[in-house]
């Protein structure tokens, strides 16, 4: 069986970053739940390509460094995202990455949502900001998502975050197995014949 390709987008900017920590733990939980399936994980840390994202927005094309990451996301069998919540929504850098993804890059791709914030009062940002965004992109958004507030990392209820992460990984793995990924159409390999274009038909 081919290895399973899992792309992980993390948009934390501090070093170390709690967003990256959440992304890593969601990844570990998913990989564990997918066992014994071989999983190839590609982590896209948005901070590494922050300038490239600005340049892409301005020029319309990706630098080679950014292109590798966009390809990894587009070609993944499933994607885990983790963003800090700034001003009631995903971070601007995170959205810039989403903005420069090729059209339909995440269509029919299972996506697990994660977010971090200062307090649990921001937890609904996953549902009012992230979920509509990924619905718009046509992704298969996992019903179970994880929000990690600062207090979760040091809580005496230490089991709680761990349990939520484990459950998210387990249900995400269930979602992605048995979901054969839809092949992407390459418009350069599979061209619409001109007679069809002339008669006004599109693909």
């Amino acid at each position: 069986m081919n290895p399973f390709h899992l792309a992980v987008i993390t948009a934390g900017v501090t070093q170390p970053s709690s967003t990256r920590l959440l992304a890593d733990r969601l990844t570990a939980a998913t990989v564990a739940a997918l066992a014994p399936r071989e999983v190839v994980v590609e982590v896209v840390d948005v901070r590494d390509v922050a300038h490239d994202l600005t340049n892409n927005v301005l020029t319309g094309f990706a630098s080679p460094e950014l292109q590798v990451r966009l390809d990894a996301i587009t070609e993944a069998d499933a994607v885990i995202v983790a963003t800090p919540i700034y001003a009631a929504s995903y971070s601007g850098l995170f959205k810039m990455l989403v903005d420069v993804l090729p059209q339909d890059a995440l269509r029919d791709t299972p996506v697990l949502l994660g977010a971090t914030g200062g307090t649990a009062r921001h937890s609904l940002a996953i549902d009012h900001a992230l979920r509509p965004l990924f619905a718009h992109l046509g992704a298969l958004v996992a019903p179970v998502a994880v929000f990690a507030a600062s207090e979760d990392w040091g809580s005496t209820d230490a089991g709680r975050l761990g349990e939520r992460i484990e459950r998210a990984g387990r249900t995400f793995a269930a979602l992605v197995t048995g979901q054969p990924r839809v092949e992407r159409i390459d418009p350069f390999a599979d061209v619409t014949p001109f007679e069809s274009l002339l008669s006004g038909a599109s693909r």
Binding site: T59, L197, G200
Partner: protein, 394 residues
């Protein structure tokens, strides 16, 4: 192989002086640049078409006809002609007129235009860009080839018994290129008709160009116009040169950093690495241009963007001197030595006339409503070879 320049016609503030040229200065500079291009031995001058500030070339055939009248050799073209928002009937008429006035010393390049608001000003919608390009060009293609056209489409008033005048010079429609960056439909369109394909290559990585040119070549062969390596390909380029590389970089950097398209984004170094932009010595430009062949194959036309981003006219004319004296003669020789014999040159009016077995006058005379008589019937038949009274340039 043809070498030339293409202009966007932007009116841009010179970032080093803060001075913005007037429209009049920009338009007259365009003429000076075109004449200089001929003087330094370039083969092609092409102008864009825009209908919004900060651009001046809204009436390209007026400008090109004016240049045609003051030049002798240089081939005049467009970069691009807006096939989406310009009525194909007007394109047929305007460019056929230019073809007569320039003795066939012209061709055109179709493009869609990427400025959303321009479309509704002409009653169109940018979301229909591709279907408009397909339908309008299909009509234009017929208008130059059929004397009487009955036509009905989706985007324009139907035509009943319409004859586009003047008929093409010598009965040979102008050669057409189709320009696009990433739309496979346009490469497919160019391939279907056996027209040229131009990749304006300048603001994007080579991978885009390679993908489009390969598709066009493959489909050109599929439609039976020749083998893939005989397809007619043109590429854009963008250069700034001084004898010493460092001087070129120092002088061009403020123009780069403030340029309308890529300014305030990537650094000059990043952009030159990732796109065909070359800022350096004439030798560096020669080497970079020759490297285009590695991914585009043997191609027929190389155009450079030279007069943009607020560069003063004096600088542009100096750049053209360097291009004509030091770069193009070397490139001509090198490309010619690399090109296999079965790869054709870009078609010209003369080569198309020769391929058609000679020119013929295709004037359509009106029929008298009352008597039904046509002046054609009362005139002696004109010999085919002498109908073109003006000499056809090479």
């Amino acid at each position: 192989m043809q070498f030339g320049i293409f202009t966007v016609g932007d009116v841009t503030t010179d970032p080093t002086t803060g001075r913005t040229p007037t429209e009049h200065e920009r338009i007259t500079a365009t003429i000076a640049i075109a004449k200089k291009a001929e003087e330094v031995g370039l083969d092609v001058f092409a102008t864009g078409q825009h209908h919004n500030p900060p651009f001046v070339p809204s009436a390209p055939t007026t400008t090109l006809a004016f240049i045609a009248a003051q030049t002798e050799r240089i081939l005049l073209s467009t970069s691009t002609t807006l096939i989406t928002t310009t009525d194909p009937v007007r394109i047929a008429e305007d460019y056929a007129t230019l073809q007569h006035l320039s003795n066939g010393r012209m061709d055109l390049m179709m493009g869609r235009g990427n400025t959303g608001p321009v479309y509704p000003w002409f009653g169109k919608d940018i979301r229909d860009g591709i279907p408009l390009a397909i339908e309008n060009y299909a009509l234009l293609h017929r208008l130059w080839r059929e004397e009487v056209v009955n036509w009905q489409g989706k985007y324009r008033t139907p035509l009943q018994g319409f004859t586009s005048t003047p008929r093409p010079l010598d009965g040979i429609p102008p050669f057409v290129w189709h320009g696009s960056i990433r739309s496979p439909e346009i490469a497919e369109q160019a391939a279907y008709y056996g027209d040229g394909f131009f990749s304006n290559h300048i603001f994007w990585p080579a991978s885009h160009t390679k993908q489009m040119v390969e598709l066009y070549r493959r489909r050109f062969e599929h439609y039976g116009h020749g083998s893939a390596d005989q397809a007619i390909v043109g590429l854009g380029g963008q250069v700034f040169m001084r004898r010493n590389s460092q001087d070129a970089v120092r002088e061009f950097r403020p123009y780069f950093d403030n340029a309308p398209v890529y300014g305030h984004g990537p650094s000059l170094e990043e952009f030159t690495r990732q796109t065909p932009l070359t800022v350096g010595s004439p030798q560096e430009v020669i080497e970079r241009t020759l490297s285009f062949r590695d991914y585009a194959g043997d191609y027929q036309r190389q155009l450079w963007l030279m007069d943009h981003a607020g560069l003063p006219l004096k600088t542009v004319l100096e750049q053209l001197d360097i291009l004509g004296e030091e770069v193009v003669p070397v490139l001509r020789k090198e490309f010619a030595a690399l090109r296999p014999a079965h790869v054709p040159d870009a078609p010209t009016h003369a080569s198309l006339v020769a391929a058609a077995g000679g020119g013929h006058d295709s004037t359509v005379h009106a029929v008298d409503d009352v008597t039904g008589a046509s002046p054609e019937a009362t005139q002696p038949t004109t010999p085919d070879s002498t109908t073109s009274t003006l000499e056809v340039s090479k």
